[in-house]
């Protein structure tokens, strides 16, 4: 047997106790829905049902917003920053203590590899709470006036690609600034948000400060359109983001949107090739490509195209696709049947439009939602796979001849969330980064996140910043 076929090394799922059904988390406790409608959350790697979850109705949203308002008026709003920070520090520590449990649940519900949930998601989740805990008593020194005030009740709607991390990006700064929140997790990945609700109970967070209302699009709409909310924060598709912007227009609600992307990862001929290959792979195959800032377009300089693509294919052949709970898995399951259908559809379009498709030999499991890491070469700016967000493990390769051409192609997209530059020449990094219309530009690395660093988009990738000092602004008046 080949050594590379590492024997199975599964993480035990017994560490997490998944209940058969969950209520909504409103006013500090789990409650049943007003009208009793439910839906199922499944494990995308096996299609097994994990738990039954409530589909929140407008009446449930009403109750949650009312609880948040009460908590804002009576407890959390008036509380001193120093006291709020104590709660946030406590939550951060509990997340660290229960990180294995949370990582396993995240992997089960989302399909992402346990290695990424364990080594990327959970450390960042805790770091976000620690970071914003530190800001809670220093807001008057953040550069937003001498006495910045919270906005009130924040309605937050998050996607399924990083369920707990997106929760942290939303809840930590909101709470640090003195707001209360009603958060709706994505319908395919509600479970870690509900476990987070248990952590809020464990931390003795005052009832109503954090409310979790599960559900699908209609629940989300009821939440963002609710007249009782002061602030809407959304991460997800540009299409839904547009609808939310329309519904919020003309109201007093403040809005931040973090939407799609079609990032260019630009490899110059003087790049550190081995690390660039790693970065491209990490840029698009990390989290199955379910990353809004994924480097889904590779722009490689023509003079190194052939050798670079050989190296990239060799590296892709090493990707281990399979059981997300196996500690050696690199690429897990696609999050849902619907997402898989979209990835398949766009890939088929790529072939129809004349691009060449390549995937390494890899055996995909029979059950569950799977898509092999895929590379398209011979892609031009006119192809749909170069323009539309696929949100899957599919990389489109384009070439360029000069730095100007690279910048032009990189910017030639309605999106502007992120970009990557690979070159050993420092002056080129600065010159190119300066001209890229993207909220985040990584140089000689990709998909690196830190709570101290703001994140957000240009153009149709949204507005507002999350993370860092800048992230406070969205929650302060």
């Amino acid at each position: 047997m080949s050594f590379f076929e590492y024997a199975p090394a599964p993480e035990s799922r017994s560490i997490v106790d998944i209940r058969s059904s969950y209520g909504l988390f409103i006013d500090g406790s789990f409650v049943d829905s007003v009208d009793g409608k439910t839906f199922k959350s499944v494990n995308p790697a096996t299609e097994e049902q994990l738990a039954e979850v409530v589909e929140g109705s407008p009446a449930d949203v009403d109750a949650a917003v009312a609880a948040a308002r009460r908590a804002f008026d009576t407890v959390w709003g008036p509380m001193s920053g120093a006291d709020r920070s104590k709660y946030l520090f406590r939550i951060a520590r509990l997340i660290q203590e229960r990180s294995r449990e949370l990582a396993v649940l995240e992997s089960l519900d989302n399909g992402k590899p346990i290695r990424e949930a364990r080594d990327v998601d959970l450390p960042l989740v805790a770091a976000h709470f620690f970071y914003y805990a530190g800001w809670a008593d220093k807001l008057s020194h953040a550069g937003f006036g001498s006495d910045p005030r919270p906005l009130g009740v924040a309605a937050q709607v998050i996607p399924w690609n990083f369920p707990l991390l997106m929760l942290a990006w939303k809840i930590a700064p909101a709470l640090a600034c003195g707001n209360t929140v009603v958060l709706k997790p994505a319908e395919t990945t509600p479970l870690t948000a509900l476990l987070f609700a248990e952590i809020c109970q464990q931390a003795d967070l005052p009832p109503g400060v954090v409310n979790i209302v599960t559900g699908a699009g209609e629940t989300g709409r009821a939440l963002v359109e609710h007249p009782g909310v002061d602030k809407v924060a959304f991460t997800g598709s540009t299409e839904v983001g547009r609808a939310i912007a329309r519904s919020v227009a003309g109201t007093r609600k403040r809005l931040t949107l973090e939407l799609g992307g079609k990032a260019a990862n630009i490899v110059f001929d003087d790049a550190p090739i081995d690390q660039a290959v790693e970065g491209i792979v990490n840029g698009i195959f990390f989290n199955q490509g379910h990353v809004c800032c994924a480097g889904s377009r590779l722009l490689v300089q023509e003079s190194v195209q052939d050798s670079f693509l050989d190296a990239l294919k060799r590296r892709m052949s090493l990707l281990r696709v399979g059981d997300p709970l196996d500690k050696n898995t690199d690429v897990g399951a696609i999050n849902s049947a619907a997402q898989l259908a979209r990835i398949r559809e766009l890939s088929a379009v790529g072939e129809e439009e004349g691009a060449s498709r390549w995937s390494p030999a890899c055996e995909l499991p029979d059950r569950g939602f799977w898509f092999a890491p895929t590379l398209f070469t011979g892609v031009s700016q006119a192809h749909r796979i170069a323009r539309e967000e696929i949100f899957g493990p599919v990389l489109s390769v384009l070439t360029f001849r000069t730095p100007d051409e690279a910048v032009e192609k990189a910017n030639n997209t309605p999106y502007g969330l992120s970009a990557g530059i690979w070159t050993e020449k420092g002056s080129r990094i600065l010159a190119v980064a300066d001209r890229l219309r993207a909220g985040v530009v990584w140089a000689n690395t990709f998909n690196k996140f830190d709570p101290t660093s703001p994140f957000g988009g240009y153009k149709e990738s949204g507005y507002g910043r999350e993370g860092g000092r800048h992230g406070l602004e969205a929650y302060l008046a």
């Binding site: 080949s2 590379f4 024997a7 550190p272 790693e278 050993e424 000689n444 690395t445």
Partner: protein, 304 residues
């Protein structure tokens, strides 16, 4: 197919190699360190690692008795464990090792060329090498001239390696880069190519006398070099991390690095070695644990 690359301008050639991004290289090595090697894979890895050990003693206090004891251990590490790849000693101890290992198939490796500093005139380095080969060494671990390398005299380093290779005759040549003194990964990549272009059969990280010795990231860069050198020339060069690898866990991480960087071709004692002394006992302890389900303890492996 063996294409010979003979650069007319070594500096231009070596400085034309792609750079190494330090952060990225270290991250990749660290990520591969998280691979979880269990059950059957672990058993296979432990036995393979034992077969890759160059059991080493390089002390001023080495005596024929010490070397004989080490050779006995090399032949019979303990239980039904396989023999190691080689015993590595100073030139003066080569006759003793050659005698003790006769007929075992275990290689006799000798450091040479004014090990560990390499600070001696070339004729002395060559005489050192010839003496070791004459006395029975079939593998020579030479050190490169780091002073010449760091001052940019690549031709001198190259020519010394060529000369030592010639002095080796049939013996295999391992070229020690002493990566701890080269300091940057760019230098490690250049020195690796230099040693391979000059005819080295193996590239080896360290003497074990300088800190840091072998690290996963340095070994990663060297594994990339042998992989790319094979693609360019068809010739396969081995890799030997040496110094600081003490636990079975570390050794297995190196095997993962090999498998996922150079490829499984290199998972062979002819192409990958561990320069180590205390590593063997931990491999044996873990091997027993895999077989019996229990840890035995330090008194159940031999101390030589």
């Amino acid at each position: 197919m063996t294409a010979v690359i003979q650069p007319t301008d070594l500096r231009a050639y070596l400085h034309g190699l792609p750079g190494v991004d330090k952060v990225g290289a270290e991250q990749r090595a660290a990520m591969l360190g998280t691979r979880s090697i269990k059950t059957t894979s672990k058993r296979a890895a432990l036995d393979l690692a034992i077969r890759m050990v160059d059991l080493t003693t390089l002390e001023g206090a080495d005596t024929p008795g010490k070397v004989r004891a080490l050779c006995a251990k090399a032949r019979h590490p303990g239980g039904d464990a396989p023999a190691v790849a080689a015993v590595c000693v100073y030139p003066s101890m080569v006759p003793v090792a050659a005698e003790a290992l006769r007929g075992s198939g275990i290689h006799v490796a000798s450091v040479a060329t004014a090990f560990p500093s390499g600070q001696a005139p070339l004729p002395i380095k060559l005489a050192d090498t010839r003496a070791a080969v004459r006395d029975g060494a079939d593998e020579i671990d030479m050190v490169i001239n780091r002073g010449a390398f760091l001052s940019g005299r690549y031709d001198q380093v190259f020519e010394e390696i060529v000369a030592v290779k010639e002095a080796c005759g049939e013996a295999h040549l391992k070229v020690i880069l002493e990566t701890g003194e080269l300091a940057t990964y760019d230098n490690v990549r250049r020195a690796s190519w230099l040693a391979m272009l000059a005819g080295g059969d193996f590239i080896k990280t360290s003497t074990g006398k300088v800190q840091p010795a072998a690290t996963p990231a340095v070994t990663l860069v060297m594994l990339e070099a042998v992989r790319d050198f094979r693609a360019a020339t068809g010739r396969i060069v081995g890799v030997k991390p040496a110094g600081g690898i003490r636990t079975a866990k570390d050794a297995i991480k190196y095997l993962v690095l090999v498998a996922e960087t150079a490829g499984e071709t290199w998972l062979d004692p002819d192409l990958f070695r561990f320069g180590a002394s205390t590593l063997l006992n931990d491999l044996l302890l873990q091997r027993t644990k895999m077989a019996t389900g229990r840890y035995s303890g330090p008194d159940y492996v031999t101390l030589d």
